[in-house]
């Protein structure tokens, strides 16, 4: 599935004294099977942007195009199945008496057979390393466990595109790592992932392409190397190390991920 935003503009609270233009002239595409990282400061429009991808928010002007078709003409329920959206702090929306039932909510709404539902529930819980929590109450879990369960609840829709809005915010390093490897695992299974984050290191680690948002506009979009090396002040630590290495050692390339930077550093030391 290819998702494209064309010239999307969004204004909150139109015609009131609280009117805010949250997005302007945003055009970008989510290519099939890629991890697109979206970075930007708070209030840069990241969350507003991703809510347009399954039309939870309708653009004030501009269009959202799915595989060449205007998304506004699609059935909302189908669009939202195809484009799964995990909100920031998704654990705030847990509601069922057990984890199992909560994760089953979306597949049940899709009208799947019970056997298929329980397969999906088990499958998505296991992908998040939360299979053992199935029978527990979601309200009695730790923060990290709640997050895993809430993400599983969206994963159970088996969407072709998965949007994660700040999935690692407020998590411990281990859960963070697990979520990042989940992102890579999904990409390897052919699912596109949109990863919204203000943690640049995490985006550098996982993303195939990066989009930088600033005051409701796309400031830059491209490969992590292009985007981050063009603006070192807003680059992850690995890139800043890479750029510093370049000064002494010109054939260091443009390392972005931790592993790449480490390899470049080793090569330089061995020389």
């Amino acid at each position: 599935m290819r998702l494209e935003l064309r010239d999307v503009r969004h204004v909150y609270g139109r015609g009131t004294p609280f009117e805010v233009e949250a997005l302007r002239n945003v055009s970008l595409a989510v290519e099939p099977g890629e991890v697109l990282g979206i970075v930007g400061g708070t209030g840069s429009g990241k969350s507003t942007l991703v809510q347009h991808m399954n039309l939870l928010l309708v653009p004030t002007s501009g269009t959202v195009v799915v595989d060449g078709v205007d998304a506004a003409t699609l059935k909302k329920s189908e669009l939202r199945r195809g484009v799964g959206l995990v909100f920031q702090f998704p654990e705030a929306a847990l509601f069922a008496p057990t984890v199992e039932e909560d994760v089953a909510f979306a597949p049940r709404r899709m009208g799947l057979a019970e056997t298929e539902v329980s397969e999906r529930v088990q499958g998505s819980l296991e992908m998040l390393g939360a299979g053992h929590l199935a029978g527990r109450s979601p309200f009695a879990l730790s923060g990290g466990e709640k997050r895993r369960v809430a993400i599983a609840g969206v994963l159970a829709m088996a969407s072709e595109i998965l949007i994660l809005d700040e999935p690692t915010a407020g998590l411990d390093p281990a859960t963070r790592q697990d979520l990042l490897s989940l992102v890579r695992g999904l990409r390897d299974a052919g699912i596109s992932v949109v990863l919204v984050s203000h943690d640049l290191d995490e985006v550098a680690e996982a993303a195939d392409r990066v989009c930088v948002m600033e005051r409701g506009e796309v400031r830059a979009i491209g490969t992590p190397a292009e985007v981050f090396y063009a603006d070192l002040a807003n680059a992850p630590a690995t890139v800043r190390v890479g750029a510093a290495l370049k000064v002494a050692y010109s054939n260091v390339g443009t390392p972005v991920r931790y592993g790449e930077t480490l390899a470049a550093l080793r090569a330089m030391l061995e020389d």
């Binding site: 609270g13 909100f87 609840g153």
Partner: protein
């Protein structure tokens, strides 16, 4: 962010906005009671004209002000409907089968409709021109004489302030949860009444859980900053009763007198 109509503060500068909240509350109380002393349509029209002038003075766009009245439109319509149909006073205007419309019913319906609309307008003017915190401060002051008989005026006002403060927060939270459940395929407003009520469970449960968590957090935050009730507590914004507040009270009384006497 979005348009919450009933009782929404509209932040602009106007003579009404800058009045002391206590004066405004008194004016509204006066007018609200006074509206039950008026029994003529002419009297209501006089008050309506005065309220119209006040809306202009308040610098609230008429379109936004009229939105305040929308939630009560149904109640007004229902009241008029019953009065017109079931009252048997005065000359018969219309007869159709068992339905009879009498002049007295029409008059009574109109009176009640005007009374409800004016009550809501006056109360709406108060909440639209007064920040919620100022409103709660005003109420605390007005209730403070009751402290002598151990009425917890400060606590009541604090509860009101907190309740008012958290309406937008809860509203925002409800929106977020609704969006999150919609992303998981929840449908609201489909099927029969039972299904609709059941569709609300995925919203109400997390909203309630969140409200309790927030209440806990707030209590802790208040205690950690040394809050221990109203005793000896000072205010950031001191209320001051000025001449213009006295003028406002006089104007309210004049409007009322005009309405009653016409």
């Amino acid at each position: 962010m979005a348009n919450r109509s009933l009782g929404q503060f509209y932040p602009v500068q106007s003579p009404l906005h800058s009045l002391d909240p206590r004066a405004k509350i008194c004016c509204v109380a006066l007018l609200a009671v006074g509206l039950f002393l008026i029994y003529s349509i002419a009297g209501f029209l006089v008050v309506a004209a005065a309220v119209g002038v006040l809306v202009v003075v308040s610098r609230i766009p008429v379109r936004i002000f009229l939105r305040l009245l929308r939630p009560v439109a149904f109640i007004v319509a229902l009241t008029v409907f019953f009065q017109v149909l079931f009252s048997r006073e005065g000359a018969t205007l219309l007869e159709w089968g068992f339905v009879e419309v009498h002049a007295g019913g029409v008059r009574l319906g109109l009176l009640l409709a005007l009374r409800i609309l004016l009550l809501v307008s006056v109360a709406g003017l108060l909440t639209a021109t007064t920040a919620p915190v100022a409103l709660a401060d005003g109420i605390e002051d007005l209730l403070s004489p009751l402290k002598r008989v151990r009425f917890p005026a400060h606590e009541v006002a604090m509860m009101m302030t907190i309740a008012l403060r958290f309406i937008p927060t809860l509203d925002e939270e409800a929106r977020k949860i609704t969006a999150a459940q919609a992303a998981r395929g929840a449908d609201f407003g489909e099927g029969g009444p039972m299904r609709r009520v059941r569709a609300l469970v995925p919203i109400l449960v997390p909203l309630t859980v969140g409200a309790f968590r927030r209440a806990d957090d707030l209590a802790e935050a208040m205690e950690s900053r040394g809050y221990k009730g109203g005793e000896g507590r000072t205010r950031y914004r001191e209320l001051r009763f000025r001449i213009r507040d006295a003028v406002a009270l006089v104007v309210a009384i004049l409007i009322l007198a005009a309405g009653v006497l016409v």
